[in-house]
Structures are given as C-alpha cells and as structure tokens.
Symmetry: C2
Subunit: 220 residues, 2 copies
Amino acid sequence: MNQTLVIIAHPDVQNSGVQQFLMESSQNLGGVTNYILTEEAIDIKKEQARFKEYKRIIFQFPMYWYSSPFILKKWLDEVFQDTKTTALLRGKELGLVVSMGVSETSFEAGKSEGFTLSEIFRPFEAFAKKNQMTYLPIFSVSLFSYLTEYKKKELLINYQQYLTKVNNDSFKEKEAWFVKQLEKMTETSNEDLSGILNVLEDNRDELDDLMTLVHEMREE
Amino acid sequence: MNQTLVIIAHPDVQNSGVQQFLMESSQNLGGVTNYILTEEAIDIKKEQARFKEYKRIIFQFPMYWYSSPFILKKWLDEVFQDTKTTALLRGKELGLVVSMGVSETSFEAGKSEGFTLSEIFRPFEAFAKKNQMTYLPIFSVSLFSYLTEYKKKELLINYQQYLTKVNNDSFKEKEAWFVKQLEKMTETSNEDLSGILNVLEDNRDELDDLMTLVHEMREE
C-alpha cells in the first residue's frame, strides 16, 4: 500500500550526498515514493491528484535562507493557489526533512542563528494547520558530510522510521515498527531471523542494541 | 539622495489594486525606487550591485502560503547564495510590506490563522539578523479592496512614512517627517503652507488632524 510521498526540492539531487543517502535509505522500505521537483512547467491537475493515495506527505529539502529552495514554494503556490484545495490534504500528515550546513544547536535561543527550527518553519506549520493536516516534528540532518559511519547508520534507521512509523513517540510503537521490519526481512531473506524476533518480544530493553544489529544484517 | 529600494514580488503587478496604489503613493516621495521582480534570468552581479546606494530595503508582496510568492525566494536564493554577501547588506534596514486577503486580527493567538505575522515572517527576520541588518516592524495591508477612502488616505501616509521616516516610533520623529514633507510641498507648490508649519510647530496635539489636511491639499 502506498503510504508516504516524499517531495524532494533540491537544485541538484544527483550531486547531493545527503539526498542520495536519503533516497537510498527509503528504497527498500515499501510504501514510500520519492518525487523530485523540477523547473519544468507544472500540470496542476496532475499534481493535485498525486496526493490521493498517500497518508503522509514529506517535504524534503536543504535549508536555503531559513526556508526551502524556491522550487518548493513555486510548486506550492501553483498547485494550491485555489483555497478549495484543502480537501486534497485534509487528514493527512505533513513532515519536513531538512538538511543544513550548520549544527542543530546553532538554532537554540542565544546561539548564532537566533531562532529555533520550530519557529523558522512556522510557515509550513501554518500550511498544515490551514489544510487540516497533522504537522509532524521536524526531521533535521545537520552537517551530513561530517557524520561518522555509526551516525549515518543511526540516521538511516531514524529516517526510515520518520517516513513510515506511526506518528507516536511511544516505545511500544517503535518496537512494533522494528518487529514489522524484521518480519519483512524474514520473508525476503534466507537468514533465519526468528531468534531475533523472540528476543525482541521478550526483552524491550535491548531494542537500542538491536537497531545496530538490524542494520548490520541488512548490509551482509 | 537614494534612500529606499522597494523590491516588489507579485505575479501580476499591473492588475493588482494594492500594488498600483502603493506604487503611486511612493511616486512623489523622493529617494524611493521601486523594483519589480520578473521571471527573467537573473544577472547576479548586477543584482548584488543594486543595494549599494540604499539605506533601507523593502520586500513588498502579497502573502502566499504564509510567505512571499516564490519569485522573491528565487531571487534571494540566487543573489545571496554566497555567504560572502553579508557585506552587501550589513548596516541597512529591512522592512516587509505584506498585503493579505484576510484581516490582521486573524493572526492573533487563538484566532483562525493561529500564528502572529511576527512568527510567520521569522525567516525574513533571520535573514536580516544573519546579514547584520536592522529588521523593521512588518507593514501589513489587509483587505485593501474593502478599505474606505479615509482608510486609504491613512494607508498612504503610513506607507510613505514606512518607506522614508527615521526608524523610530517617537512622536517627535513623526512630526519632523511631516514638517519635512510640508516644506517640500511649500517649495514646489504655489500655496502658502507657512501657516500650517507654524501650527505644527506650535501644537503637536493637532498633528493627527493635519494628516488628513496634508493629503487633501495634495489632491487639489
């Protein structure tokens, strides 16, 4: 089932390390569609029909001057210029995946940027509110090219969860998401993962360690 | 002397009642330059050189999805893509003139829009902060086509002040601005305005009434 539509706004996706990483991360998830915005003329009817089958809409972009690159705004201005468009989005979720060339801590009060990410992206929150969508917490990726391999693995798991997990921060939901991912892997792989499933069900405390384990098994 | 550069971002300035009104309002002020953004290719060097002679930069646009139309963002993304551009803007003032199809009170806490204009335009405030500019209070124009003639006269005076008055809300500054405007009119008109100047200097309390008088004399 289609679940999540990721709308990517970047002037050069092919040469963006972070965008390539994110697109690869979602490739085998199932239910996730990436859609890269271009400068070509927009077929408004076609774009408006695009959302129908998805529950979660993600705007994914690098932060340019405290907002998205203009191409996303152009697309929003054109596709949703009519106020009757609320029906297209009502009840869906809206998430932002924002990559940045500065540290997230720069956005704390008293730090160099001066405003929090929550404040800076209010226009998107207001867009979600106006269209009766549920606004998800912002998913930010700071200084991607400096991340260690371990941090990248963490990012991969967190990003996959952001795209497909039930919007609920409870530990139980996170666990359920892992169990589902493992079951999917059991179906499609020759490895016997039932042992892991048992452990997971028996011992919630060990989940954090398994995050790493899951990823390493995938790489084999 | 050049003083204020008004950068106008609107998809159809010619047919916008509010943009035409604002452009006419600034026509005889002196020191104000209107610059209408178009979708033509941007000559970055030329655009970067544009600011040099101005003290105050105004972004003037209708609010589309809680921000400017995309064309302003496109221009910002391209002209200021280099972080070395701060030198072009440092020490200048940045103001926003925003027209809206809803009432300003909709933006109060608990009202329909949910967020204040100050919050919604944080990205521009952050832009000003990053470039070491002074951010001016937002100048908003609500429901222009429903304004009475009297309200339009008020808007004209307030807008003229926003473009050229010293950034200081004191009564004395407002008065000084009026005296200067009147003096300018005395020089260029056949009417004897010295009586008005005397009244103004003698009696600050009557300034509000004079705002209307000034405008009516201009129309004669």
